[in-house]
Amino acid sequence: MKGIRLLILTALLLASCQTLPAINSILPQAGSKDSVCPSPFLKESYRLVHAVEVRMAGDTGGAIIGITVADPATRFVSCAIMTAEGMVLFEAEATPLLKVIRALPPFDSKNFAENMINDIKLIFFAPEGNIRTKGTLPDGANICRWQEKSGAWIDVIARLPEGIEINRYSAYGSWQRRIKLIPIAENVYQRIELMAKETFNYSLIMTLIEAEPIEGDLKTEKTKDSEE
């Protein structure tokens, strides 16, 4: 029993200490965003609806429906969380200014809204900032490493056949998020796994319900709504 506890403790410590992995760099000074880098990100405005399973400490914690509207050109994000029964628990948009439209407890903290918008951007938008390194990992996976203006690092990794992985690290290299896009269907967002390191670590398993491109300019649509 002690051995198992020690093993779990060691695993937790290792997980909490994850840092930027070493890259066998092939283009160490890469500044261009060419096609070598994996790019699972949206190319046009989309509306996506996912079934979201929430897990904490490995246990199933609940299931909700997540709705996302995202425009990669303007980085506009609108999102909502609702129960299967149709109750809207949370709704917000970032233009990029964050505006919370509805937030019922426990979704009513400012941190929750900011984290959610940041997670959506991490999944669906190409990182802002510059590519610092591109190359391969020891297991042969292709990787591009970005650094955002905030100093945070984002690794985008193509590991076949498992799919694409996106990892975000703080400016000091401490791991914060892992996104896995599992290629089980044509749509790259068919199954998304998100692992988050927070005070209480959690993971989300998102299964696509429907996705549709949005025609026209979201900003125009938004302005029209505001005028009404």
């Binding site: 399973e53 199933t60 914690g61 609940g62 429906i65 029964e85 109750m87 949005i214």
Partner: protein, 205 residues
């Protein structure tokens, strides 16, 4: 939040049940509700929101057996089941291809709400101080519930329940949450007082 959520849920799910009998008044409604032993039906739920270009459609089925057994089940898009039997309520969700108990904590609060549901089942629409109830006759019978006080503020503006006069069956429930959001549940294949196996209220599969 849990209590508000479950109140919302219970209203959406169960407020309709006593309406399977036509009534001229709430008093008559209560008398008619006393004759209901079981109810089962299919439903289609349409969720309207500004963020959605078209309503999000959910489908499911529900069962009720007097005095207090429920099963409210969504087949898609998100498979969930709420079962309440003999005073114990559980919620299940699909996880890794099988149904797993929802441990998010809402179930405990659900017991409180289901006690209230029993009141609804008894046709006591006008006895809940949280809502002002009115009944209007027309082609269909329309029951309107408007929240009173602040408990539902910002969550529900109005609930409209439509009951077919001739068939005496519920047609739809419309929960209006605000200017840009509503949940509409349309019912079909309604069967009243048809035997339901006990396992429906015990087994999730």
């Amino acid at each position: 939040m849990q209590k508000r959520l479950l109140t919302f849920l219970s209203l959406g799910l169960f407020v309709l049940l006593p309406c399977f009998a036509f009534a001229d008044s709430f008093e008559q409604l209560r008398k008619d509700a006393a004759n209901i032993i079981t109810v089962q039906a299919r439903f289609v739920q349409k969720k309207q929101m500004k963020i959605l270009s078209k309503p999000l459609i959910s489908e499911g089925r529900f069962f009720y057996a007097a005095p207090d057994s429920f099963r409210w089940e969504y087949f898609k898009p998100l498979r969930t089941i709420v079962i309440s039997s003999k005073g114990e309520a559980k919620r299940y969700i699909m996880s890794d291809g099988k149904m797993a108990e929802d441990k998010s904590g809402g179930v405990q609060a659900m017991r409180i709400v289901l006690n209230e549901v029993v009141n609804w089942m008894s046709g006591k629409f006008d006895r809940n101080p949280s809502f002002k109830a009115s009944l209007k006759e027309g082609t269909n019978t329309l029951i309107t519930l408007i929240p009173e006080g602040q408990n539902m503020a910002g969550m529900i503006e109005k609930i409209e329940i439509s009951v077919a006069k001739k068939s005496m069956a519920i047609k739809s429930v419309k929960i209006i949450e605000g200017e840009n959001a509503a949940t509409i549940i349309d019912f079909s294949d309604v069967e009243i007082n048809k035997a339901i196996n006990d396992s429906v209220f015990q087994d999730v599969e």
